[in-house]
Amino acid sequence: MKTAHEIRPGNVIMLDGSPWVVQKTETTRSGRNAAIVKLKLKNLLLDSGTEQTFKGEDKLDDIILERLDCTYSYFADPMYVFMDEEYNQYDVEADNLGDAAAFIVDGMEDQCQVTFYNGKAISVELPVHIVREVIYTEPSARGDTSGKVMKPATITGGGTVTVADFVKVGDKIEIDTRTGEFKKRV
């Protein structure tokens, strides 16, 4: 059992008797600081999709499926191919990666977890923290060093992350894959 706030892309939850893979999570704040979590879900039995909204503290029935540590190997449109330590390859549909797809880059060495349902690879969870290089961002406008002024930055692979104003092209940054947030420069 997890709260909606703890659910991550790649998790599988039971809703109304069916297993659903979480493709995307979006957390926002309602009035009085309450978190609201929007989930994009795909039904693993019917292959159909839906979106649902939960209070952050709502309990959800996440199911533990078989998982394997894997590394990313290559992209064969529309499948991302991952490989375990015994060189077995597993195809995961791009749709099932959700927001994580923005952080998948050739040559990455991050240990990912591929989840299986009925023998089929259905989703991938990245490590909570990953490091990526900034390939484009505007120069610091105000020379701010506090970390409170933010700006967009393009990272390796083409994804966009909101970073502190002091981050420069070529910097390596740590990103929280649960939220897509910039954590620090490394």
């Binding site: 109304d16 926002t28 009035g31 929007k38 309990k59």
Partner: protein, 395 residues
């Protein structure tokens, strides 16, 4: 007021509300309950956990009674655990994500498991926000662990949201009220406010605590023309303790303080109709939270919105989102001082609030015209109650 007779064939709606800061949450739910009963002839039960606070905006309510009826709405004392039996109707609304009583959830679950019965529509009525994400979350289901679907309903300013609470008659009532200056003078007299002349500037103040308020009070004292600030007892007045040099707890309605060209009047509490008329009668309104924020917009007068403060200054994101919508198509020379005044008030910036207030004064007439045009833009042809009734029909 005519007696409201609900449609005998309609199944009732239950609205549950926990009182958080005295007037906000209960203010919104009470207006919605009244509107559903009056305009849609729906039998409505309003369950409230703090009838004493409720009685501040409904003075004829008796907080010691477990059940009573006003404006066609059955009002129940909501104790936890629930000590009044709950009979399921057509709709259950948990206002502002309050947690429904266990007994109610149990009844809903039992009905859900019984194929012959109809489970009530379970709706979580959320807070109002102008943020873009609201469109993407409004109307989505939320399947609970027991398989029951709850629906998230988000008020908002666009077609793809749940709309804004606005009674059908309220804008016409306001126009008629404002057409005759005798109405406001009579209201001020009824409220025990003395010394206000018809052309004096009147500013109503209903905010949270902020350092911006004493700065404005100091500034208004030096005005070339007479200004009257109308302040109820409570959080705004707490901010003025040092300016008024007294214990604000001991002040009584009708009391007034002369400070240069400014007179500060202590306002009595009024019911919701009285509060609307007060906003209609003032030249400028300072409002807070959600209920008075909306009512200030229907008043068609310039206003400052003191938004409920959140962690990490997140309320400023919500403030910016609203200001962006409100200032759409408003020339920068008008929009900028209005935005900056709102920002300075919310940040308690004493220098900025005075500086931008002075700038705002120079554009007050076009800002006034914008405030008159605004309600129709904001409503997008349909208010919250009508969209909610339609939402229930469709879901």
């Amino acid at each position: 007021m005519p007696t409201i007779k609900p449609n005998p064939t309609a199944k009732h709606w239950d609205i549950f509300c926990t009182v958080v800061d005295n007037y906000g949450d209960i203010g919104v739910t009470w207006r919605l309950a009244k509107q559903l009963a009056a305009e849609y002839l729906l039998p409505v039960n309003l369950w409230v956990d703090d009838l004493h606070s409720f009685s501040h905006i409904l003075p004829t309510l008796n907080p010691s009674l477990p059940q009573q009826t006003f404006n066609g709405v059955n009002i129940f004392q909501w104790n936890n655990p629930l000590d009044i039996s709950y009979n399921a109707g057509q709709v259950v609304i948990e206002a502002f994500a309050c947690e429904l009583p266990e007994q109610v959830k149990t009844v809903i679950e039992q009905l859900h498991q019984c194929p012959q019965s109809q489970t009530p529509h379970w709706i979580n009525l959320e807070y109002l926000s102008a943020e873009e994400w609201v469109e993407g979350c409004h109307g989505l289901p939320s399947t609970q662990m027991n398989g029951i679907k709850k629906w998230f309903y988000f008020p908002g300013f666009t077609h793809n949201t749940g709309g804004l609470i606005c009674e059908k008659h309220i804008l016409n009532d306001r126009i008629q009220w404002q057409a005759n200056p005798n109405n406001k003078m009579a209201l001020f007299a009824d409220l025990g406010l003395h010394g206000i002349k018809v052309n004096d500037t009147v500013i109503s103040v209903f905010s949270y605590e902020t350092d911006a308020l004493p700065a404005l009070i100091h500034h208004w004292q030096t005005s070339a023309t007479a200004i009257h600030a109308l302040v109820p007892k409570g959080r705004s007045l707490t901010s003025l303790a040092s300016v008024l040099n007294c214990d604000t707890q001991n002040l009584i309605p009708g009391q007034q303080f002369s400070l240069g060209n400014l007179t500060v009047h202590i306002l009595p509490m009024t019911d919701q109709i009285g509060f609307d008329r007060l906003l209609w009668s003032a030249d400028f309104n300072i409002v807070r939270g959600e209920d008075s924020f909306l009512r200030a917009q229907w008043a068609a007068k310039p206003f400052i919105w003191h938004i409920y403060p959140q962690e990490d200054d997140y309320h400023l994101v919500k403030l910016e989102a609203f200001m962006k919508i409100y200032c759409d198509n408003l020339p920068a020379e008008i929009a900028t001082p209005w935005r900056e005044v709102n920002l300075a008030f919310n940040q308690g910036d004493q220098n900025a609030i005075v500086s931008y207030w002075q700038q705002l004064n120079s554009v007050i007439l076009p800002l006034q015209q914008h405030a008159i045009n605004w309600p129709n833009n904001a409503l997008n042809d349909a208010d919250l109650a009508s969209r909610l009734v339609q939402f229930v029909k469709n879901s």
